[in-house]
């Protein structure tokens, strides 16, 4: 608890700081003389803005995010291994520890290779 409390306090302080600065800024900022409907429009380089709400976005982003999750977990699995590798070596089990991760990495590399091969990571 005592380790995490400062983090929480700092986070709260930053949020307070941000809100306070926004408040001050909105209090002392120059106000518009009269409301202007055109100014409140969404910015779209000057042409009348398109509000159909039907934005076409490449779905490539989505597959990237999923593959990111999967690879991210595999990388997280390497962290405890990297941390204990020295202990395993010192205890004489270095080759064992290396083989454990070699198998895991082989699967990882195969997966990455397959994704590249199947053009799942291709952006045109």
């Amino acid at each position: 608890m005592s380790q995490l409390l400062p983090v929480l306090i700092l986070a709260i302080f930053i949020i307070t700081f941000g809100c306070a600065m926004m408040l001050v800024s909105s209090l002392i900022s120059i106000k518009a003389k009269k409301p202007d409907p055109v100014k409140d429009e969404t910015y779209e380089c000057g042409i009348p803005s398109d509000n159909s709400g039907d934005t076409k976005i490449s779905i490539k982003f989505y597959l990237t995010a999923i593959l990111f999750i999967l690879f991210d977990i595999e990388i997280i699995f390497m962290y405890p291994w990297a941390m204990t590798y020295g202990d395993f070596i010192a205890a004489g089990y270095g080759v064992y520890s290396f083989c454990v991760m070699a198998f895991f990495l082989a699967v990882f590399i195969f997966g990455l290779f397959w994704e590249v091969k199947s053009k799942a990571l291709e952006w045109e």
Partner: protein, 108 residues
């Protein structure tokens, strides 16, 4: 019944109660929300609640088997979210619908 002394002494039971409440919320989301993506979030919530109880039990038992189990549950949960969302998105792309009632009528 409940005396304040027991309420103030945070033990395993408190964490289990908290975990139970969060689990129920997740279950309600799965049973009663209509949006498939919110239902998937409910599943995540349930898995998280279970993780909390695993960690609490691990501390109580004084060994780390619970932590390892949490690690595995997280992996599986992430994989499940990935596949579940892939399916939901595939269906949404085709029918423009995320309502679970609609999914019941799909036929191969």
């Amino acid at each position: 019944m409940l005396d304040t002394e027991a309420l103030m002494r945070i033990g395993l039971g408190h964490y289990i109660a908290l975990s139970g409440i969060i689990f129920s919320f997740g279950m309600i989301a799965v049973m009663m929300r209509k949006n498939v993506i919110v239902m998937l979030m409910g599943v995540e919530l349930m898995l998280n609640a279970v993780n909390l109880s695993f960690v609490a039990f691990a501390k109580e038992a004084g060994n780390l088997n619970g932590h390892i189990m949490v690690f595995f549950v997280m992996t599986i949960a992430a994989a499940e979210a990935g596949v579940g969302l892939a399916l939901a998105v595939a269906i949404y792309k085709k029918f423009h619908e995320v309502n679970i009632r609609f999914f019941e009528q799909l036929k191969g």
